[in-house]
Symmetry: C2
């Protein structure tokens, strides 16, 4: 491997290759579930350098683990503990290459931090809507490699739907120049969407052209108390009907989730305490603040009239709106403070959610009395973070050791029966690879494996992940 | 081949196999550019029967040409003249399998005619927005295989963006059960989008789950006269800014296009005669008729104030709105009546359109004085049908024979220089396969070919098309 590292250093210079020193920042994930050992960390500064790295890796048969902001949740972007895998960090490729305002598009390199892409769009007077908790450190390349979701999917779609074109380096170090600002292009297979969501196993995304949107004139946030998940689903239908595409967010939190926040983060105000379910609605209005208020008030009144809203609070200013969102986003933090739990990132057809929640809550209570379900997520997309916590007094580690496998089985069986997904937005990585191979349609698995063999016959791109 | 046809008949019954008689309806395309000879026409009635056909074709090495409504424009769905290719017609698989209103989704078989899918959605009180001129005979499977565009792409996207899940039969006769009503699912490679737009070369789409939308409360149509393409692009930007997602259509027609309609179809009223460019705008309002009118009037007034609109007419009722759309949709008919022409289905970044049109109009006038450019299309998506007609008095056939190749070269060179596409919505088929292999990024072509080999190693699925 010395010959390989020497060749790599000759290609990238000292700034472009870390080897020998402390590489721990690149070797472990931030949740500390995976700790690996890297052969080295390549930090190419250009697409040509990425291609050169891949050509060397191909010649020397060195496996590559692409890494963006390393904020993933499934062990997809850190090396295993063999010491034989090269981390390919895109962190030096962080240029916004251009903004075409008339075409409502932006081209940026893979290592751009998501918040910086948002800021570049805002500077041009436009909106780049992808938004998620890690936006201060996750990168555009990682967002695309994992088809990131977040809080604006209901209106704007996942990372996939926001992407117009890609630049990709293949396993053999060729460059596919697929950057494009086109909305319509039927000239062959959809390579773009094949690379998006492939978790670095088919190629290295080095740059992307993304859609921009007009900034809304006004953005309003409200909380609504609902008596049941069924009522929350009815409110979602009503909001879609009345607000159309102005509805840019629809989140839910169950009582246990907000009770946990009250316990762990008592400084946070809770405008609708004790609600069985709390919905967070966001409206983005293209017209005016007055129009936005009128639509929101009409919607919530209609919700009360139809009996699916018990109480509601519209944020009166930006600070209050932020506080509403902060309440929602604090749930994972409150959970982390409360100790380990069993996380599920599931999606279901919206029509199946209410039945799933009722049945699964009951099944878990029967399985282990006192068990606590912290249930929250993006109801508008059918995506729930359905997390399960130990009964009061039971140590979390003991609970996980004894029950994690059985509870996963209960939850995933019910999800699968209803046509749902075991990974809505977090991806597969190492964490869910076994589960996927057990549960995914066998023809789909065979197709995926034959595509992987076709594009990466030596299995050098993020081996052991996803497929 | 007798053994193969006997085995096929045993599997499908007499209703399921046409062979020997007059098969011309399946052998030629409706534009009469391609006339082929089929080995036979298989008409399976279920997914299992499609799988059985593919297993037999695989065993006997028989190439398959999948066919939906056979309304394509690029020779993708009819057999060559060898008499060795089996047409696989999906026309008997036309069941709407179900509508899930709460999940805003519909599942239908590939042979469903598009207008019937629209009608099924409307019966459930919802909107299925895919809409194109051939909707009375094209099928959902064909729409997906070609990633159809149409008039509502600006707001709702191409067929790809409307699809949630697929059921597909592979080259070896396996069934991928990928029907799904999920908005978020990150469990592996995006097989769905790989099959969409692959023109039957990777697998047979047998059914799909599609997105539905709330029906708008009001739909309004207007025509606006613009002095230049530049003004039309400015009006588009203004419309997006003021109407947001309520803007569901933005078409343009140049003066020559409407003059041709006036000549060939004089019975059609022309509300804004003599305009250099005429834009057709459609607004779909989630709120009310009053709100829609207010937005539209404000928008057109702003257009006049900013100098990008010279005159405008808002349709006063549904009949008038239909007449406005009919004017736009009559251009191809007027062209057909006027004789052969050189068609281009191009797309460009919206920011590049005005420059392209000015340069190319001038280049063509210089190339052959008197040449006529019939230019119209979906400006909102950057998609122009930039068609070139013989100078007055020059016979069309003579014009095409002498100039088609040179004019294609002029147009496609300019499109490529500006990052555009030589096939925005019609696909590649047989018509543009050579052109594609000359103009597409070589790495993309290599990737496409390796995917084709991986999924269809015997080259039985629509051979000679696309790749």
């Amino acid at each position: 491997m010395t010959a390989f590292l020497d060749a790599l250093r000759a290609q990238l210079g000292d700034a472009g290759l870390l080897a020998g020193g402390d590489l721990s920042a690149y070797e472990g994930d931030w949740r500390k579930r995976y700790a690996g050992k890297a052969l080295g960390v390549a930090r190419p500064a250009s697409t040509e350098e990425v291609a050169a790295v891949m050509r060397l890796c191909h010649a020397h048969r060195v496996p590559v683990v692409p890494q963006g902001g390393n904020t993933g949740l499934v062990g997809g972007s850190t090396p295993d503990d063999s010491g034989s895998q090269l981390v390919l960090s895109l962190s030096r490729m962080k240029r916004v290459r251009g903004i075409d305002a008339a075409n409502a598009s932006l081209t940026a390199e893979a290592g751009c931090v998501l918040a910086e892409v948002q800021a570049a769009a805002a500077q041009a007077g436009m909106l780049f809507p992808l938004s998620l908790a890690a936006e201060g450190s996750c990168t555009l390349g990682g967002n695309l490699a994992t088809n990131a979701g977040g809080t604006q999917v209901l209106r704007y779609g996942n990372a996939r739907e926001l992407c117009l074109g890609l630049e990709v380096v293949t396993a053999t170090g060729e460059v596919w120049q697929g950057l494009s600002g086109l909305r319509k292009d039927n000239t062959g297979y959809d390579l773009r969407d094949l690379f998006i969501g492939s978790e670095g196993t088919l190629g290295i995304i080095t740059a992307a052209t993304m859609k921009l949107y007009p900034s809304p004139k006004e953005r309003l946030t409200a909380l609504a108390a609902c008596a049941s998940m069924d009522d929350a689903v009815r409110l979602l239908g009503l909001a879609r009907e009345r607000a159309g595409d102005a509805l840019t967010g629809f989140e839910v939190m169950n009582r246990a989730a907000l009770a946990l926040v009250a316990r762990e983060l008592p400084q946070l105000a809770q405008p609708l305490p004790g609600a069985e379910w709390t919905a967070l609605l966001e409206l983005s209005d293209a017209e005016s603040a007055e129009h936005a208020h009128a639509v929101f008030e009409g919607l919530l009144e209609a919700g009360v009239e139809r009996g699916c809203v018990q109480d509601a609070a519209i944020a009166q200013n930006i600070q209050q709106a932020k506080a509403f969102w902060h309440l929602r986003e604090s749930i994972p933090l409150a959970q982390a403070q409360a100790g380990l739990n069993i996380k599920h990132d599931i999606s279901l057809p919206v029509s199946a959610i209410s039945g799933f929640v009722a049945e699964m809550d009951a099944a878990l209570a029967a399985y282990l009395p006192g068990i606590e379900v912290i249930d929250f997520g993006h109801l508008g997309d059918g995506n729930l973070h359905y997390n399960v916590q130990a009964p009061a007094g039971v140590p979390a580690a003991e609970f996980l050791a004894a029950h994690e496998a059985a509870i996963n089985e209960l939850v995933y069986d019910a999800v699968q029966q209803r046509g749902g997904s075991i990974s809505a937005e977090h991806g597969i990585g190492r964490l869910k690879r076994e589960e996927l191979s057990r549960r995914k349609d066998p023809t789909a698995l065979a197709l995926m494996r034959s595509i992987k063999r076709a594009l990466d016959p030596l299995d050098l791109l993020n081996p052991g992940r996803l497929v």
